[in-house]
Symmetry: C2
Subunit: 318 residues, 2 copies
Amino acid sequence: MGEFELIRQYFMPLARLHGSRSVLLGPGDDCAIQSIPPGSDLVFSIDTLVEGVHFPIGYRPDFLGWRALAVATSDLAAMGAEPACFTLALTLPEVDEPWLRGFARGLGRAAESFGLVLAGGDTTRGPLALSLQVHGLVEQGLAIRRAGASVGDLVVVSGTLGDAGAALDYLDALSPSEDEQCVLEQYHHPQPRLKLGIALRGLATAAIDVSDGLLADLNHILESSGVGANIVRAQVPVSLALARLKGDAAVDYALNSGDDYELCATIPEATWATAPEALKQHFTVVGAIEPAPGLRLDGIDVASGSEATGFDHFRRRA
Amino acid sequence: MGEFELIRQYFMPLARLHGSRSVLLGPGDDCAIQSIPPGSDLVFSIDTLVEGVHFPIGYRPDFLGWRALAVATSDLAAMGAEPACFTLALTLPEVDEPWLRGFARGLGRAAESFGLVLAGGDTTRGPLALSLQVHGLVEQGLAIRRAGASVGDLVVVSGTLGDAGAALDYLDALSPSEDEQCVLEQYHHPQPRLKLGIALRGLATAAIDVSDGLLADLNHILESSGVGANIVRAQVPVSLALARLKGDAAVDYALNSGDDYELCATIPEATWATAPEALKQHFTVVGAIEPAPGLRLDGIDVASGSEATGFDHFRRRA
């Protein structure tokens, strides 16, 4: 089977999902065409996943399809954007139909769940890797950037952190325990916090998704905003499963391991006080923005720059 | 040097080039933001280049930077779009500063030449590969698609074809002849036909860029439009250098080899007759659209489908 037939068979159905109506022309031409509603800006991000670096060699293709789109879509959530469409650049060592079928199934489920249609792509031969670009829409001027954090803002995070990082310890487990299964599920099927991101518009002064670990990602906000922060270790939320599996070390996973795809945001204290309970219940206050540059954990400096912590693709071995 | 520092040093200058003013937020946040002027649609395409498949192992990094952006931008030309910005997903086996410097230089020259600013990207560790997504703007409804060719339209191509394909024979030449240098230059520094694409808006009924060979790419137009075509072999334009290097076989390169990045378009005969000479001088009429499906060369069937000819990444060995 040739490249073109392969693309048609497995990926064209993803271009017909119900979701965004802004895609005027999908895959199969030189370019795709997207209509941007008046009053909205286009918000977009590209992410690459390489086998053996961002996911294990031999990783289940349906899990990979979900994970790849979730990772990319999480960046839309962090901006408070509405999901619209995505492109897929897929590099494969060979035409493996069962693999493609599984991958397209996982990718399709994620696309439907997140409200994204496939707008275009490219398929090439080479070592297994994927680049996905996601497109979202946001009312002009309302996208949440990294640069708006102010002294006195609270630092909040959604959900719990550390499960996905801990899951790396159990990827090869033949019969994982219930707790191990819980954290593995967070690794295999991360949920981009699209609704929470949209709900943060107009409330949060800055936001980022936690892909590289809370300390590393919060550092990006601090550097962009020209401020510092203190995090209270005891307030960092971890799941019961992680706490049972890792004991006192659970919080270290929450602080330093990546792949969680929760949101970290900064919110003025007064705004937080009057925010709807329906929103607040999804977030935990973990610290506060301070004038002194740098990031502190219980008052002690933990990082001098964005490279001191978290996931750096050129430093870590898969 | 870590990933973040590396990105800043070599790629941030490309985000500050004079060009599109539609990028409201460039690299360094979770997403980039692009403003789309009222009355315009977004036109976009993603392309991947893998070392050893789309470019030779050890290829000069500055040539690669130019080629990669030219290949992607050529898709904007084929739609008649104005260039705006691009994203770069770069996968590198290691941090190699001289390589990065060269690559960023070639990419930057291409970006400036084509009028594109870097809006965002991702840098990862792995086998050398690049995915670039280019964004263009086109007046609503005026993008040139593949599906509009009609019986009686002329088939035209810009420039000359086959040089880049023939260049593959001389990539390792230690002291290439003048003619060999000519075709090599077409391979190393292709020129996306942006101005010609824009000039074709409202004139061409369909267009495509010649990336996989004239026969293969014209076949895409025919299949999308539900028509056939006949090409007159003697009218296919080849450069003097190619004709001298390859003799009678020069036209075979023009018909079947890829990487030319010229435009192939269909135009109603009456439109062509009254088209400005300034436009016509850049194109050659090579054939005509016919009602019978399929592609013919001097009246003889040459291909039964898009996979019978041209560059198919899963069939060809680099």
